[in-house]
Symmetry: C2
Subunit: 387 residues, 2 copies
C-alpha cells in the first residue's frame, strides 16, 4: 500500500429534512451568500423556496443556469459576483456540476487572474471561500471531495482540477430530493459512482484490502438499489443508499493507498468536451470496452475477484471466461438501467476519434494508468464503443 | 436508515515515515505541547527520540505513565500541566488509552471544575485543546473519533464520554510502529476492532446496506491479517490493514444511520473497572456468549448474513445451525489468536457478577440495545463466560 493522506473533513448531514439545519450550518461563515444552482429544477421541487425561508436573515446573491458540464464562462460570472458583493460563503444546490462550478468560483474569488488558470493547475489555489452544498443528484461525490471538472467550449477542453481547500465544509444529503429525478439521471449518476470505484479498484496495488472490500460494497449497493430506484422512484432505502454511495465512492476511502492515473474519466472527458454528452452515459459506454481491452494475464485476477465478490459469480478454473462474464454483467447492467450503450446512439461518429484519443492521452496521463495506454489504444477502445 | 451526521474530520497521515510531517502538522497549533504517553515503550522503539528531534523548536511538557485503562487521576494531572504551562496542543503518542486520556485532558483544560464531570456528561464539553496523535496500537479507533473511556478506580467506575470537539485534528499512522507489539496486544486490539463492528452490525436497522458491507470488509481484514501479523510481526501489509481497520471501524462509517445502545462494551467496562483486565480480552470473552444469548427468531437472519459474508459459510436451510456455526467461528478465531477465552483464565470468579451486571444495565443503557437486556440477562451472559 502506498503512503496516503485521507482528509474528508466535510460535515455530512444525512437524512430526511436535514435542510432544517441549514441556518445553523451557514451561521459559522457569514451573512452574504452566493446561491449557485442549475436549470431551475430546485424551483419545481421546493428546495429553492425552502432555502429562502430558512435564510431570511441572509443576503442572498444568485448565480443560476450552471450547465450539466459546467463552463468556465459561468465560473467567471460567479467570481465576478463574489468580488462585487463581498460574498462570505457559497451555497451550492444541485448535483456535481453545480458543486464543481461553485468550487472553482470559491477559489477564483481569491485569485486575481482568469480562473481557467486554476482549472489547468490546482496548485495555484491558495485560499477559497467556504462551500456548503445541498445535494440533489447522487453521482460525482463532489459533495465530499476536492475535485472539480470544468469545460471550456471555446477550446473543446474539459479538465479536472483538485485542491483539499475546495472540499465543502458541510453537505446536506436528503434522499427524498432524488425522488423526482428523471430516470436517465438516476442511471447515469449510478454509472458515474461505479466508474469512480472502477478507476481505483483496478490497480497494480494488491494489498489495499479494506479499500477493495469497501469498493465492492459500494458497487453492490449501486447494482441493487439503482434498479429499485428506477422501479420505485420514492423508495427511501434505495435513494439513501445511492446517495451515500455517491459520497463514499470518491472521498478517498476507496482510492487511498493505490494512486494512479485514471482511464475512463479522461477518455469520457473528451467525449463530453466535444459532444457535451452526459458524463455518466459516456462513462458507461466506455467502461466495458476498456475492461475488455485491458484484460490480460496481468489483470485477469482482479477481474476474477470483481466477478466473484461483486457479481456473485462462482469461482471457476478458466479465469478468462470468468473475467469475461464479469465484464458482460457490467455491460448488461448498464443496458438494463436504460443507458444507451453505443456512441452512435448518442450521436457520436468516428470523425473526431483521433483528436479525442490524442487529447485523452496528452492531458489524461494515460501512460500512468492501471494498464498504460497510448493514442492507438484509445482509438481502438473508442472504435469499439461506436456500435 | 436513521438520520445521521458523519463528521470524521481528522487528517490521517498514513504510511511509513509519515512522522516526518509532524512539524508541519504541529505548526498550525502553537509551540507549547503536552506530550502524553504510556509506559515507555515509545522510548524503546525510538519514537520518543524522533519526536524530540522533530520538535526541537517546541516547548515540550511531558505526561507519562498513562495506564492501559486510563485513570481520572492521570487526567487531572494532565489538566494541571496544561493550565500551568499554557499548553497550545496535545500530542498523544500511544494507543487508545493514551489518546482517550489526552482527549479528556484537552477538554479539562477549558473546564473549571473536576474533569470527572466531563466523563459523566460529555455535553459539558464546550471547548478543547487541539489534539494530534501518533498511533502505536491498532484497536480503539480513538485516533479518528469523538470517544474517550476513563476509569475511576476509587469508585470502580469506567465510563465512556463523547464530544465531536475531541476528535483529533491529525493522526499519524505508521504501520511499522506495530511491528514490536506483544502478540497479546495485536490480538486484543483486533478483538476490540471487531467488537466495534459487531456493536453496530447487529442492529434492528436493516437498510444501511453500505455500512454493513463496509463492516464485513473490516471484519474480513481483521480475520485475515491478525493471523498473519502474529506469524510475521513485521509484515507491512498485515499491519497496514489492521491499523486502517482500527480507524475505519469506529469513525462513524459502520454505525451511521443505525444508532442504538451497545452491549458488549458496557459489560466489558464493568469487567475492567473491577478487575483492570485488558479491554480487548474482555470483549473477546463476552462476545460469543452474548451472540449465543441473543440468537432468536428476530436476530437469526443477521447472523446468517454474518456467517455467509464474513466467514464464507455456504447458505443452508437451517438458519439456526448456520448462525451457530458463525458464532463458533468467531469464538474459535479469538482462541486461535491466543486470547484467553474464559473469565477464570483472567482471574475473575463469580463473586462480583451481580454488581457488575447491575452497573452495566444501569449505566450502559442495555434496555435500548439491539436485543434489550436486563440485569438477569447480563448475569447469565457473564456466568456463561466463567468457563
Amino acid at each position: 500500500m502506498q503512503n496516503f493522506i485521507f482528509h474528508a473533513y466535510t460535515k455530512m448531514l444525512f437524512g430526511k429534512d436535514q435542510i432544517e439545519q441549514l441556518p445553523e450550518v451557514m451561521d459559522a461563515y457569514g451573512k452574504t451568500v452566493l446561491l449557485v444552482y442549475g436549470g431551475g429544477s430546485i424551483k419545481k421541487n421546493g428546495i429553492y423556496d425552502k432555502v429562502y425561508s430558512l435564510l431570511k436573515n441572509w443576503n442572498i446573491i444568485e448565480l443560476s443556469g450552471v450547465e450539466p458540464n459546467p463552463r468556465i464562462t459561468t465560473v467567471r460570472e460567479g467570481v465576478r459576483l463574489c468580488k462585487e458583493h463581498n460574498v462570505d460563503v457559497i451555497l451550492a444546490v444541485g448535483g456535481g456540476s453545480t458543486i464543481d462550478c461553485s468550487k472553482v468560483i470559491a477559489a477564483g474569488a481569491y485569485y486575481d487572474k482568469d480562473p481557467w488558470d486554476l482549472v489547468l493547475d490546482g496548485s495555484l489555489i491558495k485560499e477559497v471561500l467556504p462551500i456548503v452544498t445541498i445535494l440533489t443528484l447522487a453521482a460525482t461525490g463532489s459533495e465530499m471531495n476536492k475535485n472539480a471538472v470544468i469545460s471550456n467550449l471555446e477550446t473543446n477542453e474539459k479538465f479536472g482540477t483538485s485542491s483539499r481547500l475546495m472540499i465543502p465544509q458541510a453537505s446536506i444529503l436528503d434522499p427524498t430530493y432524488l425522488y423526482t429525478l428523471p430516470a436517465i439521471q438516476t442511471a447515469a449518476g449510478t454509472a458515474d459512482i461505479m466508474s469512480h470505484i472502477f478507476e481505483a479498484y483496478f490497480s497494480r496495488e494488491k494489498d489495499a484490502f479494506i479499500q477493495d472490500r469497501f469498493s465492492e460494497g459500494i458497487l453492490k449497493a449501486c447494482i441493487k438499489y439503482c434498479k429499485i430506484a428506477l422501479q420505485e422512484p420514492d423508495n427511501y432505502e434505495a435513494r439513501a443508499n445511492l446517495m451515500w454511495a455517491s459520497s463514499m465512492a470518491l472521498n478517498g476511502l476507496t482510492g487511498s493507498g493505490k494512486e494512479h492515473s485514471w482511464t475512463c474519466h479522461p477518455i469520457e472527458h473528451e467525449l463530453s468536451a466535444f459532444y457535451d454528452i452526459t458524463h455518466g452515459v459516456g462513462l458507461a459506454i466506455v467502461t466495458p470496452r476498456w475492461m475488455r481491452y485491458i484484460l490480460n494475464q496481468d489483470t485477469v485476477d482482479q477481474f476474477v475477484t470483481y466477478g466473484h465478490n461483486v457479481w456473485d459469480l462462482p469461482m471457476e478454473e478458466d479465469k478468462f471466461a470468468m473475467a469475461h462474464k464479469a465484464i458482460d454483467k457490467t455491460e448488461e447492467f448498464f443496458k438494463e438501467i436504460g443507458i444507451p450503450m453505443t456512441l452512435s446512439e448518442v450521436g457520436i461518429d468516428d470523425s473526431k476519434i483521433e483528436i479525442m484519443a490524442e487529447k485523452a492521452v496528452k492531458f489524461g496521463g494515460l501512460e500512468n494508468a492501471y494498464v498504460s495506454l497510448k493514442k492507438e489504444d484509445v482509438i481502438n477502445i473508442l472504435k469499439n464503443c461506436l456500435s
